[in-house]
């Protein structure tokens, strides 16, 4: 009897341990229906709804099952690590260019050139494809992209007879002219241009927009060689310019401003211009509709007029290596079917900021949408920048690079810039520090 109880308990304990600690590998589905698991980092309702709708439609067309999992970008790496460990990597991922770069560097995804050719390579805006290129292959199908522009108060420009600035000197003059004490109480009521420097992502994004417009890059766009170290003098000058703007035309609190703060400031009328990717329009529509028609945008001018490049990013569909040849073919077809002009335009329009689809044909549909009908002027400005200029996401000047995700997830740019803004560090030392950090990251990547 006691022996029986002992054996029963042992079985229970072992059984519970097996269930608790098992790897959870799924049994092979005996049915013929393939199931595709898609992760997306887009967690906003409107975007997730459109994605889910399109995935369901395509799955029905192909006779496959689909499961969409929304995972915030911050959680992606941890969840992916677990997925890799358990051998359950998602079939398709919808992630930003930095995430795509990381997945490519880890050998998790396959190249998508055949899919792009199938959709029609000529229909893709070439700069979108360039960003997703590495080792002569394109590792994702670009979905849409965002471009950083200067969003400004058209009414103030008109009131003070200000023209769109054509170089940095003019830009600084405009920012100073628009730093206003409107009620003459000795306090600034409207700041010309905030320089947001929150350590998490925002500081490097602001700095890189200025770096690119002065021709400074992390890697040489043509050769892919590390180039920041050779351009430290220029990087220092860029930093000095930025910090000078911060001290003369920016609210002092901007040192810790993130996206919400500078967007709100423009929408609420406490700053006259700001760098942004177009989310200010959505914010104005919901918080201060009167401001919508007062807002316009222009490309941040190049340091001496001609702008070498600007800052931008976007999302792409990438496909994991996992699975049989048959499964790979299904996954590729699935992605391919998502690229009808209508679907591509619909996805871009679900974004609460100016996200431009990667297909020319989709862009035409996008422009005709009543959702953006009021903003044709802004769309023309941004489209021109997308089509006719270089634009990169930090660290991806020569195509996909893991450096991008390392810059994105660390705070050394923010620390360096904030230290200079607070007078705790010279710009020369700050640039040296950034250079050392970038080189350390480079060693890690290699």
């Amino acid at each position: 009897m006691k022996k029986g109880i002992f054996i029963l308990l042992l079985i229970l304990v072992m059984g519970s341990l097996v269930f608790a600690g098992g790897k959870g590998e799924k049994a092979v589905d005996a049915s013929a229906t393939e199931k595709i698991i898609i992760w997306t980092n887009l967690t906003a309702d409107a975007q997730a709804k459109v994605l889910n709708k399109q995935f369901t439609e395509v799955a029905a067309e192909m006779g496959v099952e689909v499961e969409m999992v929304t995972i915030s970008f911050n959680d992606m790496y941890t969840k992916l690590a677990t997925a890799v460990e358990s051998g359950n990597v998602p079939d398709i991922m919808h992630t930003n260019f930095a995430g795509s770069a990381y997945l490519q560097s880890q050998g998790i995804i396959i190249d998508m050139d055949d899919v792009i050719d199938g959709i029609g390579r000529d229909d893709f805006i070439s700069s979108y494809l360039h960003v997703l290129n590495a080792d002569g292959k394109t590792w994702g199908v670009p979905d849409w992209a965002l471009h950083t522009s200067v969003w400004y108060r058209k009414d103030l420009f008109k009131q003070y007879n200000i023209e769109i600035p054509q170089n940095w000197a003019e830009f600084e003059a405009v920012a100073k002219k628009l730093t206003l004490d409107t009620n003459r109480d000795g306090k600034v009521d409207i700041y010309g241009f905030p320089v947001p420097m929150h350590a998490v992502q925002v500081a490097p994004q602001t700095y890189y927009e200025f770096l690119y417009s002065a021709g400074v890059t992390t890697f040489d766009p043509k050769t892919g060689e590390y180039s920041f170290g050779k351009q430290k003098r220029e990087a220092k000058e860029v930093m000095d310019y930025m910090i000078n703007l911060y001290k003369t035309t920016s609210p002092p609190a901007a040192i810790e401003w993130s996206w919400n703060e500078y967007r709100n400031a423009l929408v609420e009328g406490t700053v006259a211009m700001t760098l942004d990717m177009g989310a200010v329009i959505g914010l104005a529509q919901s918080n201060n509709p009167e401001m919508v028609e007062k807002l316009g945008c222009f490309d941040l001018p190049g340091r001496y007029g001609v702008k070498p490049a600007s800052f931008g990013s976007g999302y792409a569909f990438v496909v994991s290596k996992q699975g049989s040849d048959k499964k790979q073919a299904i996954k590729k077809e699935f992605v391919s079917r998502l690229y009808t002009s209508e679907r591509a335009a619909e996805r871009a329009l679900s974004r609460p900021m100016f996200a431009f689809p990667s297909l020319y044909s989709a862009l035409e549909i996008y422009k005709l949408s009543p959702l953006v009908a009021l903003f044709q002027e802004q769309i023309a400005t941004i489209t021109d920048a997308f089509e006719n200029n270089n634009w990169y996401w930090y660290g991806m000047e020569n195509g996909l690079s893991q450096m991008s995700s390392q810059i994105e997830a660390t705070t050394f740019f923010g620390e360096a810039l904030q230290s200079v803004a607070l007078g705790r560090e010279t710009s020369e030392k700050a640039v040296d520090y950034i250079d050392r950090q970038l080189q350390e990251q480079l060693l890690l990547i290699e």
Partner: protein
């Protein structure tokens, strides 16, 4: 009770069987992660890469040769000590208050609210009230001339850490409050009555009766709160992201950045070992000192 060959009674054998799940739990969820973390700290392991090499003490050398580590360790010390002192002092004060007859269940429940508010909500509200343009705290300080126009205390080194500590104290004081209150309830009222008869005033009663009774509770609270605060990541990351200029970056943020910024799992493990070791040493020293004082 009849013993078997190994000298154990059947009840003892059954008892041992019953502790198997607990032992298994400890092995799987406590011992293994710690041992594996120590192991990882001697490797160049990276997130998402299965292969890694043994690198000896390289990670530890990197940590101690990084000047930022000392700045972040100092920040951790300031963050932890000031937060814990604040939590315990306010927790005790409020516990004394709710120990009075007039404090009802409603008040006690109300005082627990900060502890159950999610960190992200606290962070958003903190950023809102310290916004340089319209935040009530910032505008108040600006009107008093203590802060520059359109400035936020979160953008000023020193005051950003002060704001973090204040928010952390507000969020965490209900825990010491509850524990102190439970201890206060256990103190025999007759001792106060006897002291009163002997002519002791309220202050004397507090220091001669209440404080000695709270000593063991305080030891436990200090240990728990130090461990929880020194490893608390959410609020500093969500409110300041470690800024401005790294003045609120503490070791948990450094660990996070090593793990999910540069994906150096090995390095992150070694920083966590250093933090864990420092906490362990402090706690052993503190508890032994406290108990020997008592003895």
């Amino acid at each position: 009770m009849k013993a078997n060959k190994s000298g154990l009674t059947s009840n003892q054998t059954l008892g041992k069987i019953f502790i198997i799940p607990l032992v298994a739990f400890l092995l799987v969820f406590m011992i293994y992660p710690v041992v594996y973390n120590v192991f990882l700290s001697f490797t160049d392991a990276r997130l998402l890469k299965k292969d890694f090499n043994f690198v000896g003490l390289k990670n530890y050398k990197n940590i101690f040769s990084n000047p930022k580590f000392y700045q972040y360790a100092k920040n951790t010390l300031i963050w932890t000590i000031t937060s814990v002192i604040g939590q315990l002092v306010i927790g005790l004060g409020v516990a004394l208050l709710i120990n009075k007859k007039y404090a009802g269940t409603g008040l006690r429940s109300f005082l627990l609210i900060p502890y159950v508010v999610p960190a992200v909500v606290i962070a958003l509200v903190t950023k809102w009230i310290t916004n340089g343009d319209y935040g009530i705290i910032s505008c108040g300080l600006q009107n008093l001339g203590l802060l520059q126009h359109c400035q936020s205390p979160l953008a000023v080194p020193g005051s950003s850490m002060a704001i973090l500590v204040i928010v952390n104290i507000w969020r965490s004081f209900p825990f010491p409050m509850l524990i102190y209150w439970a201890t206060l309830k256990g103190i025999n009222k007759e001792m106060y009555e006897a002291a009163s008869v002997d002519g002791a005033n309220a202050v004397q009663s507090f220091f001669r009766i209440t404080v000695p009774h709270l000593k063991d509770t305080t030891i436990v609270l200090v240990v728990l709160r130090i461990v929880w605060t020194a490893t608390y990541f959410d609020l500093p990351w969500l409110i300041t992201g470690g800024g401005p200029a790294g003045t609120t970056t503490h070791l948990p943020i450094m660990i996070y950045q090593a793990s999910f910024g540069t994906f150096q799992t090995g390095l992150a493990s070694s920083i966590s070992i250093v933090l864990g070791f420092c906490l362990f040493i402090f706690i052993v020293f503190y508890v032994r000192k406290s108990l020997s004082d008592e003895g």
